[in-house]
C-alpha cells in the first residue's frame, strides 16, 4: 500500500502506476457528476453529439454537495454510491475519462471497462463530507445548473484523499480486503 500524489489531467502512465489499496492524494481539477448528469451525458454520447466538456484525462467525482455556508467554498461534499452510475460509466471511459471517485461496489462491466480503457475507480470516505470539503479550493458550474446539487461543476482540489478500489489490472480492494480479514 503506497501513498501517491496525483496531478490532473491523468495520463495512462499515472493510471498504470496505481494498484488497488494505494492511497492517493489528488491535486488539480475534478468534475462533479452524479445520476442525472450521467444520464444527460450518456444520451448525448448515444446521439453522437458534443458533450459540454471534454472527458480526456479527467476525473469524475460522484457528489452532490450541500449548499455553502457564508465563508465556505462549498458545503459538505462526500461521495455518493457509485453503483448507480454503472450503466453509464463504460461509455464515459470510452470518451477518455481516467478516474471516478465514489463509494461502494462497481459491476463487472465497469470493472472490465476500467481495464480496457486504462482507468481506475477510487473511493473517498463516505460520510466524511465536512472533512473532504476542506480539500476543495474552488468550485464553478460547468453544465446543467438547473439540476441543483446534481449539476456538473469543476472543483479545484488540493491533496484530496482517496483509495484505489479497482485498478487497471483487474484488482479489487473490496474483494481483497474482505478475503484478508474474513473469519467466516
Amino acid at each position: 500500500m503506497a501513498a501517491i500524489k496525483l496531478t490532473t489531467p491523468l495520463t495512462d502512465e499515472d493510471i498504470m502506476g496505481l494498484k488497488a489499496g494505494d492511497s492517493v492524494f489528488i491535486s488539480g481539477e475534478i468534475y462533479t457528476a452524479r445520476d442525472a448528469a450521467h444520464k444527460k451525458l450518456y444520451e448525448l454520447i448515444e446521439k453522437n453529439q458534443q458533450l459540454p466538456l471534454d472527458l480526456q484525462g479527467k476525473i469524475f467525482y460522484y457528489v452532490g454537495p450541500a449548499p455553502a455556508k457564508p465563508g465556505q467554498v462549498v458545503g459538505s461534499a462526500g461521495p455518493t454510491t457509485s453503483g448507480r452510475m454503472d450503466a453509464y460509466t463504460p461509455a464515459m471511459l470510452a470518451q477518455g475519462l481516467k478516474a471516478c471517485i465514489g463509494k461502494g461496489s462497481r459491476d463487472e462491466a465497469t470493472k472490465k471497462a476500467l481495464q480496457e480503457y486504462k482507468a481506475v475507480y477510487l473511493a473517498a470516505t463516505g460520510g466524511a463530507g465536512a472533512l473532504l470539503a476542506k480539500k476543495i479550493k474552488s468550485i464553478e458550474p460547468v453544465a446543467y445548473e438547473e439540476l441543483g446539487p446534481e449539476a456538473i461543476q469543476r472543483m479545484v482540489v488540493e491533496d484530496f484523499p482517496a483509495t484505489v478500489i479497482n485498478d487497471a489490472y483487474g484488482n479489487d480492494l473490496y474483494e481483497e480486503g474482505r478475503k484478508k480479514y474474513s473469519r467466516k
Partner: protein, 280 residues
C-alpha cells in the same frame, strides 16, 4: 386539556434538522473510538480516524457531517390529552423542515415524483409516523435518513420454521451483499414480527435506540450480539476496505405476529446514525 400551538412544533423541528446533521451523537463518537481501538486493518483505522475528525469539523463549524442530509423522517407521539391548535400539524412539521434545511445550509434531496424526479427544492415533504399515546405531551423524534444506506434495506416474509437461525442467516447474508455501499461501519436495525408494513417500521425504529443499548428482552439481546459478531467476521471493515469493524451495533425490535408469518426487515444506517428527540 393542554394546548400547544403548532408553530412551537415548527420551531422545534427547524432546530432539530440542524442539530441532527451537525452534531454526531456522543454514543456514536464513543462507538467509533472503541472501533478504532479494536480495528486491526490499517486502512480501516484510517477511515475511523477520518470519521472522528469529520465529526469534530462538523461540530465546530456547524456544518453537516455528510452532504446527504437525508429524507426527514419524523416520529410523533401525541398525548391523547394534548390539543394541537393554530393550524395543520403536518404542514407545521413540513414548514419546520423547509426552514431547517434552508437556514441550516442542508442539502435538498427530495424529488416530487419517483419517476419524473424533479427536486422539490426545500426537502419536503416529510415522512411522518404518528402514534397516539396516554398523557398531554408531544414527543418528536427526527431521523434524517441518507439514500445510500436506505437503499440497502430489505423486507422478507420468512417461514415460521426458519426460526432463530433463519433470521440470523438472512440478516448476515444481507449485510454481506450490501458490502461497502451503506458506508460501514454501519448500524443494523432489524424488525421481527408484525405484518409486512409493521416490520419495516420496527426495523427503522430499532435505529432510534441509543447505540449499543441492548434489547430489554435478554433473548433478543443475545441475538443482537450473535448477529453483530457474525457481521464483524465478514471482513468488510470500515468503508469496505477490509477489516473487522463492519457494524457498530445491531438493534432488534419485535412485535406479535400471525400464526402463519415470520416477517423480518433490515434497515441499515450509516455510521452517523442521526436522530434527535424533543418532548414538548
Amino acid at each position: 386539556m393542554r394546548e400547544l400551538d403548532v408553530t412551537v412544533v415548527t420551531d422545534a423541528i427547524a432546530e432539530m434538522c440542524k442539530e441532527s446533521n451537525y452534531f454526531l451523537g456522543q454514543d456514536v463518537v464513543d462507538a467509533l473510538k472503541n472501533a478504532l481501538e479494536k480495528e486491526v486493518s490499517p486502512a480501516g483505522k484510517e477511515v475511523l480516524r477520518q470519521l472522528l475528525e469529520n465529526a469534530r469539523i462538523a461540530r465546530e463549524e456547524e456544518v453537516p457531517m455528510c452532504q446527504d442530509t437525508g429524507f426527514a423522517v419524523v416520529f410523533l407521539e401525541i398525548g391523547q390529552d394534548l390539543h394541537l391548535s393554530g393550524g395543520d400539524l403536518t404542514e407545521a412539521v413540513n414548514e419546520g423542515v423547509r426552514r431547517g434545511y434552508t437556514e441550516g445550509y442542508l442539502r435538498k434531496s427530495i424529488v416530487k415524483d419517483p419517476l419524473d424526479r424533479v427536486n422539490t427544492k426545500d426537502n419536503t415533504p416529510v415522512v411522518i409516523h404518528t402514534e397516539i399515546v396516554p398523557g398531554d405531551k408531544l414527543k418528536i423524534v427526527l431521523a434524517p435518513k441518507g439514500g445510500g444506506s436506505e437503499n440497502m434495506s430489505i423486507v422478507r416474509m420468512l417461514k415460521p420454521a426458519d426460526g432463530y437461525q433463519g433470521i440470523v442467516d438472512f440478516v448476515v447474508d444481507h449485510v454481506e451483499k450490501a458490502g461497502p455501499n451503506p458506508c460501514p461501519p454501519i448500524v443494523v436495525g432489524v424488525g421481527i414480527g408484525g405484518t409486512f408494513e409493521k416490520v419495516a417500521l420496527l426495523a427503522k425504529k430499532a435505529l432510534l435506540r441509543r447505540l449499543g443499548q441492548p434489547n430489554a428482552n435478554p433473548y433478543y439481546a443475545k441475538m443482537e450480539e450473535a448477529i453483530l459478531s457474525r457481521i464483524n467476521e465478514l471482513g468488510i471493515g470500515p468503508q469496505g476496505f477490509g477489516g473487522r469493524m463492519t457494524a457498530l451495533a445491531v438493534h432488534i425490535e419485535t412485535y406479535p405476529t400471525h400464526i402463519a408469518s415470520l416477517p423480518v426487515a433490515v434497515n441499515i444506517n450509516c455510521h452517523a446514525s442521526r436522530h434527535v428527540e424533543r418532548i414538548l
